[in-house]
């Protein structure tokens, strides 16, 4: 069973080395690849200096495009499980077995690490506005797919071989986390959540996944509804 961690990184010079060292210290069997999404700081130099396995995107694509590159790589190399893992130190390596287990036991095709599933588990619950936004997205996912996803914007997720192939072919790059979840449920894949703990960022500034505006919410909800409608029309899997 070969497992690949996909680590998207944009301007993560403060965090990226520590994250990689943590993974190496945790397990020697885990492969990882850092996707440098056209960082403007020293991220690339750090990756090269320390001989960290990385792919350097020649242009900045945003989180969705970066993560999909990771899935394409995983697909090419024939990995069995791919895990999305943030390059900013928010995610905790010790939860990797938990997040892989439902896939290993054949209970799920995709597993999402949720901050909200078990409130005691996570020390970091994020701000009120983010949680509120997350709830709205959850509500619409429930309405369109009948599945309960408590943390639809979580970037900590594991996928099996079938979904790696799906994502390598087509991955929603605009609002990747909620959209990809809806797409996979509508295509008939089993999506499961496990409780995880997330830490607060330890350095640098977060550039991604912020509920800055109502604008974002409206677009995500629209995307979810459109995705589910499109896929239902095609009959799914």
């Amino acid at each position: 069973m070969r497992v690949l961690l996909i680590i998207p990184a944009y301007n993560e010079q403060e965090n990226i080395l520590r994250v990689c060292k943590e993974i190496e210290a945790y397990s020697k069997e885990l492969d990882y690849v850092v996707i440098n999404d056209g960082s403007k700081d020293n991220t690339l130099a750090i990756l090269e200096e320390n001989k960290i396995n990385h792919i350097n995107l020649i242009q900045n694509l945003g989180i969705g495009g970066a993560v999909q590159t990771g899935y394409k790589y995983a697909h090419q190399q024939g990995y069995d499980i791919a895990i999305q893992f943030d390059g900013d130190g928010q995610h905790d390596v010790t939860y990797i077995p938990n997040i892989c287990e439902p896939i290993l036991q054949g209970q799920a095709d995709m597993v999402i690490g949720s901050r909200y599933l078990d409130k005691k588990e996570s020390q970091f619950q994020s701000t009120f506005m983010r949680r509120f936004g997350g709830n709205i997205i959850s509500f619409f996912i429930k309405r369109t797919t009948k599945n309960k996803i408590t943390d639809p914007t979580s970037g900590f997720r594991a996928t099996n071989k079938k979904i790696i192939a799906e994502f390598a072919k087509e991955y929603p790059t605009e609002y990747p986390e909620p959209e990809s979840t809806v797409c996979m449920i509508c295509k008939g894949y089993k999506v499961k959540e496990v409780p995880v703990s997330m830490k607060e960022r330890q350095g640098g500034t977060s550039s991604i996944r912020f509920f800055k505006t109502a604008d974002y919410m409206i677009k995500v909800v629209l995307a979810i509804i459109l995705d589910s409608m499109n896929l239902k029309k095609k009959g799914g899997k």
């Binding site: 792919i55 020649i58 694509l61 495009g65 590159t69």
Partner: protein, 123 residues
């Protein structure tokens, strides 16, 4: 229409048509788009050559003032063009993302192969 206005409009239309034809000749524009621009140019020419035609058409369609019809048509055409460009842009950006990804993956593969080759020659 006053003569001076008509002359000005004819001059503007001539410049407009010249720009369009030059762009098409120099292959700066896709054929599918050039058709749109040529048609708008032709409409302008007709409108200036036979001003009564436009007035009659607008009356027939029920516009109270001719200029309203002209604005109406112009706005619709602009919307259509923006819409078309928006679709084209969305398609292009998707293609772009794929290109960047594939090139970056190829770069990675080349680098990995070169590293392997170096190791082998060092042994």
């Amino acid at each position: 229409m006053q003569i001076s206005l008509r002359v000005a409009l004819i001059l503007i239309t001539l410049v407009y048509m010249a720009l369009i034809i030059r762009a098409i000749k120099n292959k700066k524009m896709q054929i599918s788009f050039s058709v749109f621009w040529i048609i708008t140019g032709l409409i302008l020419v007709i409108a200036i050559a036979i001003p009564n035609a436009i007035q009659n058409i607008s009356k027939m369609l029920g516009f109270e003032v001719t200029v309203n019809m002209i604005f109406c048509v112009a706005i619709f055409l602009s919307f259509y063009l923006i819409f078309k460009l928006n679709i084209l842009y969305s398609k292009e950006s998707k293609v772009n993302i794929t290109l960047v990804q594939e090139i970056s993956l190829l770069n990675k593969r080349i680098q990995d192969l070169e590293n392997k080759e170096n190791e082998r020659s060092n042994d």
